[in-house]
């Protein structure tokens, strides 16, 4: 279980997160949503341990992050973090990199040898898997980075915009299926940040909406619908919650051209 307790963070003097508290249970897929620049990636980085919150703490599996070396190492064995723009070794093949990441997480060699080809096949990278990553397209790089997170078999996956970065429909479908399978079979917790409601509507157990650094809602789709009084899809509920005024802006734009 992941607990975020009263987290406040700012870059310099600019506040990015304001007193955020939320929790994700074991076997839950939690989507962090919000407009661009509102603090989703920052919150994910705080949970991942890449950022130290100015105020507040994060607890994973009953252990506070960065409390003691032993607890922190125990957490790190359980967690994998994939930033929105992951770094990849361009001069190595995708297969080599996946094997190295798997070994880092002490995955038994036989399981790794079985899993890596299946992952490459799932993401249509069987041939590319043996070429240097420099030769990959943007979408293929995203796929290999996602495969790198999956190969760790970590029970907690923290993914920043996993569906962005040129991922094709088959990749998106594969990824959604993997998340669901991990949740069902391995009780894995997935927290992902995304600004696009349509991509997470059918897989997220709960949706946390962050706006201007504040957590304005965190509930199931049904719960959010009740809260807003909207019965439509997540995009409509989301629109009403963050009050972006996208529809009126669009109308205003086309109205201005006439």
């Amino acid at each position: 279980m992941i607990e975020v307790v009263h987290v406040t963070h700012h870059y310099g003097i600019r506040p990015v997160l304001k007193d955020i508290s939320l929790q994700a249970d074991r076997g839950e897929i939690l989507a962090l949503m919000g407009p661009n620049g509102m603090g989703k990636s920052t919150l994910l980085a705080v949970i991942a341990g890449a950022l130290w919150p100015v105020i507040g703490r994060v607890k994973i599996d009953g252990k506070w992050r960065r409390a003691t070396p032993e607890d922190e190492l125990a957490i790190r064995r359980q967690v994998v973090y994939l930033p929105a723009e992951p770094w990849l070794p361009k001069d190595r093949t995708g297969r080599e990199w996946l094997l190295a990441v798997g070994r880092l997480y002490s995955i038994p060699e036989t399981r790794l040898m079985d899993h890596v080809p299946r992952l490459l096949s799932l993401f249509d990278l069987e041939t590319k898997g043996d070429e240097p990553i420099a030769a990959y397209s943007t979408g293929q790089r995203k796929k290999i980075a996602l495969a790198g997170a999956i190969v760790t078999e970590a029970p907690v996956m923290l993914l920043d915009e996993p569906f962005a970065g040129g991922l094709d429909p088959s990749g998106i479908l594969a990824l959604k299926r993997i998340f669901q399978k991990h949740r069902e079979d391995r009780d894995a917790t997935v927290i992902m940040a995304t600004p696009v409601p349509e991509l997470v509507e059918d897989i997220a157990d709960r949706i946390a909406i962050i706006h201007n650094g504040e957590l304005i809602a965190c509930d199931t789709l049904a719960g959010l619908q009740r809260m807003t009084g909207k019965a439509g899809p997540l995009a409509e509920v989301y629109e009403s919650l963050v009050n972006m005024g996208a529809s009126s802006k669009i109308e205003q734009y086309f109205g201005g051209s006439q």
Partner: protein, 376 residues
């Protein structure tokens, strides 16, 4: 006999073939030939001044040769530092107790012959025969210490360093110094045999040939490998302090005046390096402006890494002031140097603890820094 010597000695060392040895001997005895030629040509005994002048280069040749041989006796046959040789050796039935294919690392009868011959040559040019043991022994010991640091047993290096310090301390008594070196050999012999038992010296934490990137190298489950246990920090600082003491004790007043400021600036530099190592790849969770604005002037979880460098800087500044006012005795300088080194390596937090529990933000590494391998 010569054949046995060549078999016993490492064969991949350029100096150890007959051509090179003959060239060296020819150059060495050319000086004697010059002296005899002058004496014969002018029908006069060789003048003492000329004899002395010709002995100088001969002495240097012998000294360089012995240092070279001392280093070669460890470096040339040792599998550590030669990946191809080491990997090949792993595939063979070789095991500790068997002779190493490129020759032994431990000394043997032929080394004794080498030392006896060169010792005799030293006496012929009016120098101490014990110089042969001294030069060969120092080079051999230093080369061995460097390999023991990577192959283990590492802590024996402290004992050898202490013995070397005592040896320098007894100088210029060459005989006593040579005796100390000779007395060190049984320890070195044991250390070599012990280290070969743990061949192929695989690292405890596996090295990753593939760079993993900042997320995995900084947030992955492998602990930071740089660790300096308290005991090691204490011993290293005492040895360093001892080294400074002996160096200053054996130096002239002019040399001391030159060495002391260098040591102080080296201390400042070391403090800066320590700060850089801790700070590298991390950033302050709150900048100066944000600290003033928020009133959180001190963030203990991050600012703890400043304590040791600032303490060192303060102590060194005080030492500079004292140094201007009066002469600093070697014993004071040694003790002070030991204190600085102890703060440098022994004062908390350890790098591992800070990386795992410190209050910092991980800088999103780009370019060269992000390509760092986990094993680096």
């Amino acid at each position: 006999m010569m054949k046995r010597i060549f078999i016993s000695y490492p064969r991949n060392w350029p100096f150890l073939n007959l051509k090179w040895i003959l060239i060296c001997l020819a150059i060495y005895f050319a000086f004697d030939l010059v002296a005899f030629g002058i004496a014969w040509f002018f029908r006069v005994p060789i003048p003492d001044d000329l004899r002395q002048a010709l002995r100088q280069p001969q002495g240097w040749m012998l000294k360089i040769f012995l240092v070279f041989m001392g280093l070669a006796r460890v470096v040339a046959p040792h599998p550590d530092g030669k990946p191809k040789y080491k990997n090949w050796l792993k595939t063979t039935p070789w095991h500790p107790g068997m002779p190493l294919p490129l020759g032994p690392i431990t000394l043997n009868f032929y080394d004794l012959i080498l030392l006896a011959v060169t010792g005799f040559m030293f006496t012929k040019i009016g120098m101490h025969s014990e110089l042969a043991i001294l030069l060969f022994g120092i080079a051999y010991t230093i080369a061995l210490m460097l390999t023991l640091l990577s192959t283990g047993p590492g802590r024996i290096v402290y004992l050898l360093s202490l013995a070397l310090l005592i040896m320098v301390w007894v100088l210029p008594d060459v005989r006593f110094a040579a005796l100390i070196l000779a007395a060190m050999y049984p320890i070195e012999h044991w250390a070599i045999r012990h280290s070969l038992k743990s061949f192929p010296w695989e690292p405890q934490v596996p090295k990753h040939a593939v760079p993993l990137g900042w997320t995995f190298s900084r947030l992955g489950p492998e602990p930071v490998k740089v660790r300096v246990p308290f005991l090691d920090a204490l011993i290293v600082s005492l040895l360093f302090g001892g080294g400074v003491y002996v160096t200053l004790l054996k130096s002239t007043a002019d040399a001391r005046r030159a060495i002391e400021p260098c040591l102080v600036f080296a201390g400042f530099f070391a403090a800066l390096i320590r700060f850089g190592v801790y700070h590298g790849g991390n950033s302050n969770p709150l900048g100066i402006r944000a600290r003033i604005t928020t009133g959180r002037l001190i963030i203990p979880g991050f600012d703890q890494i400043l304590v040791a460098p600032l303490l060192i800087a303060a102590l060194l500044s005080a030492a500079l002031v004292v140094g201007v006012q009066r002469t600093i005795e070697p014993i004071e300088a040694g003790g002070f140097a030991a204190l600085i080194v102890f703060i440098l390596f022994g004062m908390g937090p350890s790098l591992r603890r800070f990386r795992l529990t410190g209050a910092y933000n991980i800088s999103k590494l780009t370019g060269r820094a992000s390509r760092q391998r986990l094993s680096a």
